[in-house]
């Protein structure tokens, strides 16, 4: 068995023992199912809340199906991202702080394998969790609200998944250069929030930003096409992910292992 795969397998095993394989898909699935459910029952919920004056008609139109999927992306962008950051913040930082990394890296293990195996294992878990949640959302939307064209749904799945990939890569990057997992989480969430907020306001200036991927995904799910500058954002995002990974490796290579 190749050494990289041994490292990768260990990461998966660790996630299993930490219950990550249970709770990460669960979170995404709960989020994915709840969005169509709450959308569907919202009028009823408001009615029973009884805030409205006697005799007034409630008319809250149930949104079209693609909008429900887009709203699911909104959920994933908040609690989903939070969960991803929390799950990956200690992935390298924890091992450096505790000293487990020195015992592994005193063996003939390349630092690139060490980091990239962790990154890949985290992404596997991320994509699986996301797939489960997305499929759940799509199915419930179909049952309760209406159909979404399959090609659109699948296209949007991959585009939004790239934003999650970016979020995980950024967290792994911070985890590689810092030893305190709390600070890693703080910086990751902070920069993801800033990137996202800026990309939604400065749409022209930041047309290339990975923060626009969720906008493109929402557009694809309803129209089948990305918003303006879709391919620019797509290719720059992939580029940034690769650069972050290489930069993480390069900085990690310079690092001396002291606990």
């Amino acid at each position: 068995m190749g050494q990289w795969f041994i490292l990768f397998k260990k990461e998966c095993m660790e996630s299993w023992r930490n219950y990550k394989w249970l709770w990460m898909p669960s979170v995404f699935l709960i989020l994915g199912l709840m969005q169509p459910i709450t959308t569907y029952y919202l009028p009823d919920i408001l009615a029973t809340a009884g805030e409205l004056p006697e005799g007034s008609e409630i008319s809250i139109p149930i949104p079209p199906a693609p909008d429900v999927i887009a709203a699911t992306f909104g959920q994933f962008s908040q609690i989903g991202i939070l969960v991803l950051v929390l799950a990956s913040m200690g992935i390298v930082a924890g091992e450096r702080a505790s000293g487990t990394a020195s015992m592994i890296l005193a063996r003939p293990v390349s630092r690139f394998s060490f980091i990239s195996a962790k990154w890949a294992a985290m992404l596997l878990l991320t994509w699986l969790s996301y797939l489960v949640g997305y499929a759940g959302s799509w199915y419930y939307t179909f049952l309760l609200i209406g159909e979404v064209e399959a090609t659109n749904a699948i296209g949007a799945f991959f585009v939004y998944g790239l934003w999650l990939t970016f979020a995980v890569t950024l967290t792994v990057f911070f985890s590689t250069i810092l030893k305190n997992a709390g600070i890693v989480a703080f910086l990751s969430i902070g920069s993801l929030l800033v990137i996202s907020a800026l990309s939604h306001t400065l749409t022209k200036l930041l047309a290339w930003s990975p923060g626009r991927l969720s906008v493109h995904a929402s557009s694809i799910v309803s129209t089948g096409e990305g918003a303006d500058h879709f391919f620019l954002a797509l290719s720059v995002s992939i580029g940034i992910i690769i650069v972050l990974l290489i930069l993480a490796y390069y900085l990690f290579k310079q690092k001396e292992l002291v606990e």
Binding site: E14, G99, S102, M103, A106, R107, V258
Partner: protein
């Protein structure tokens, strides 16, 4: 024959020099002790050998290995070994073995063999989080040995253990010594005396003395006169320092230790002094300094 030659190894940190021009020659089959007080630079030296810290200057040359990455030739036990708590002892050993390139089946065999050798086979299937300090130290030794390294590097392998654990791990090292070359660090002379062939005494990042255990015992021992008195006489102590035959005077409340160069001359003069200063002597002993004295002198002077 030298297995590893370390030349002028130096490590500067931002605000201090932890290791300064350290040269070591590690002979094949020998057990070498790096002996020094806390903060002497033992861990820093060892981490450079293990490739975890980059030397500021100096070279580490492995015999017959021109390639720069000699990590598979060494087995490393850090001062504070840290394991994956969620793994079992056996899983950790198999993982370590596989990373060092042992094929699957061989890794398992080797893991079982070492668990047995270290006396922790009954804990093999337990999570490491449940292990005691002594068991972790044994597991640490096992992982360092698992790929049959040419050189075992152990950083304070017994310092954190209680007397029983310490004795057992020292016995283990004595056993391992038969099979492989060992470099270990300690701040306790007794540990070095117990198992090592060669000793390097390190202090403030520099090697202050080195040699085989025997050489150190023979060459550096000095005649010493130890006098136990009822009370301390400061005036006489002052006088003693002035004699040419006196190398060093150390005194506690009841005991004076006088290291001397010429025993006969010293004895005569001191006996005279005892009468003239009217010293109330309880015991008077002429002997030789021990390795302990040498060590204390070297690390405090």
């Amino acid at each position: 024959m030298s297995l590893v030659t370390v030349t002028d190894l130096t490590k500067h940190f931002a605000d201090n020099t932890a290791v300064n021009n350290v040269s070591l020659s590690i002979d094949k089959g020998k057990c070498i002790a790096l002996l020094g007080p806390n903060g002497a630079g033992k861990t820093t030296t060892i981490k450079m050998l293990a490739g975890l810290l980059k030397p500021t200057f100096g070279t580490i040359q492995f015999e017959g290995s021109e390639e720069r990455d000699y990590r598979n030739l060494i087995g490393y036990l850090p001062q504070y070994p840290a394991f994956y708590r969620w793994m079992t002892g056996k899983e950790y050993l198999v993982y370590a073995a596989e990373l060092s390139g042992l094929p699957d089946g061989e890794a398992k065999e080797k893991a079982e063999e070492l668990l047995k050798m270290m006396g922790i086979e009954e804990a093999a299937k337990r999570r490491i989080s449940t292990y005691s300090g002594g068991m972790k130290q044994r597991l640490g030794l096992a992982q360092a040995m698992i790929h049959d390294p040419k050189l075992l590097i152990l950083d304070e392998p017994v310092s954190a253990l209680d007397p029983v654990g310490r004795y057992e791990v020292l016995e283990m090292i004595r056993k391992l010594k038969e099979k492989t070359t060992i470099l270990f660090s300690t701040h306790i002379l007794h540990d070095a005396e117990e198992v090592s062939d060669d000793i390097y005494i390190i202090r403030n990042g520099e090697i202050v003395l080195s040699g085989t255990l025997q050489e150190l015992q023979e060459e550096h021992q000095q005649p010493v006169i130890v006098i136990e008195t009822a009370e301390k006489n400061e005036e006489w102590l002052g006088q003693l320092e002035t004699y040419a035959f006196v190398a060093n005077v150390a005194s506690t409340r009841a005991e004076i230790r006088i290291e001397v160069n010429d025993v006969d001359e010293a004895r005569n003069q001191i006996l005279k002094d005892i009468l003239s200063f009217n010293i109330k002597v309880k015991t008077f002993k002429v002997g030789y300094t021990s390795l302990e004295d040498l060590f204390i002198k070297k690390v405090t002077e």
